[in-house]
Symmetry: C2
Subunit: 244 residues, 2 copies
Amino acid sequence: MDTTVTSPLARKLGCFVALSDAELSVLERLQVRRRPFAAGREIVHQGQSDRAVYILVSGWVCSYKTLPDGARQIVDFQIPGDFLGLRSTLLQTSDHSIESVTDIQVCEVPSGDLLAAFAGTPRLATAVLWAASRDEAMVVEHLAGLGRRAAPQRVAHFLLELGARLALVGFGTKAGYACPLTQYLLADALGLSAVHINRVLRQLRELGLVTFRDGTVVFDDYGGLVALADFDPTYLDQERPLLT
Amino acid sequence: MDTTVTSPLARKLGCFVALSDAELSVLERLQVRRRPFAAGREIVHQGQSDRAVYILVSGWVCSYKTLPDGARQIVDFQIPGDFLGLRSTLLQTSDHSIESVTDIQVCEVPSGDLLAAFAGTPRLATAVLWAASRDEAMVVEHLAGLGRRAAPQRVAHFLLELGARLALVGFGTKAGYACPLTQYLLADALGLSAVHINRVLRQLRELGLVTFRDGTVVFDDYGGLVALADFDPTYLDQERPLLT
DNA sequence: CGCCTTCTTGACACTCATCAAGGCCCGTGG
DNA sequence: CCACGGGCCTTGATGAGTGTCAAGAAGGCG
């Protein structure tokens, strides 16, 4: 099987909109210019406005905002197949920084190329908008979690959401997934201290629900975790392809 | 002075992009079809997808998300001059509900009309995108506040942000503004209990910083409040018009 | 080998939620 | 006119949930 056709992005968009071979090849052609970054490098800086979009091909990335007092709030993590700076380009926003969590590979796509691709293949544009819409929904869900969920539910929900996202691009199942995040990163994303994240993870492990350890997440009791977190994946699922 | 030319929306967009008379009149023509809603009515329901945008002309509105367990997280409040459901229409998102806080007047603008207006007056489109971008940035800032700010800072920051937004549409100054929100609404927006909101407000009042009472916010010490909240309005300001 | 990052655990303090009770204001109906 | 009820605000008492501080353990890497 040709690996370019199973790029994470194509795989993800294929879940939103059934794409033809022609559309897939347009999509793959956007992803030719690859570029690596080492772990911990800043890809976009808060306030900077960029005229290009990145597609994350491999590795993990986080987008975050630094408060004046130095505290950091991670807005979201990006995994293979996600866009970096898509909203920024569409809406000229540039209000948060983006940093690689692991070594990564990205494709830089000039805004013009992306818009041209959209013009030629509207179904592709639809698919990308859907993906952007889902990202949007995740931020809102994240907001609700910070505001209204207690720590264990918040952690559980986060791990489940990540699992669902990874499953979409072929990097995870209901059994678990590889996860390069440190507990410090979890803390910055979930608005908790690293120490408390550690305690909550232990608690979830001892309840036999999920094990987060050695860069791996294992769902010991998927159903139980869903019940604990009140996880409703509606905001992620588009069920089966919406356009066929 | 003609009141239609000083619609809150025109006033706000004028701060982003200097608009010509022709552009202003296109903008005002979008706002002819007015429609009232009583306080506490649901304008858009979570999950519903609408083919129209609303422009809020008068009154206040909140958009919120209801969690499976019944808890409510308010994502943002909208004030006169704000769009309701703009992102939903552009990106087909529909993941939160919208409810009137006071009696309101809105203008319903069919998506098609809006897009047509954009096509004819690209500077208007730019201005609206800027407004949408600012809303986006506010959600992220809100997220950071929930995750990383303690209650007093969170409340202070919220009141300051609202003041800055209201000033932009002529409903407030650095001295204060009329605010129809209840402490329960503040609680749902800031991820705190209503009881605790009450205590924090008392504390801020006793510190001589801000008075929230009888539907009015009075900044007793604007500078002090800014210092307490670490309020950096960069994400709201576009300083002076960016396009002239 | 020693340092550094990450994880782990305990002790303690403090923020904030919860429960409970009462007050104020205003609209409604007797 | 007054009594009642319902929002909304206010305040106290109490305890659970989290943050902070501190110390150590388990690896990876120069």
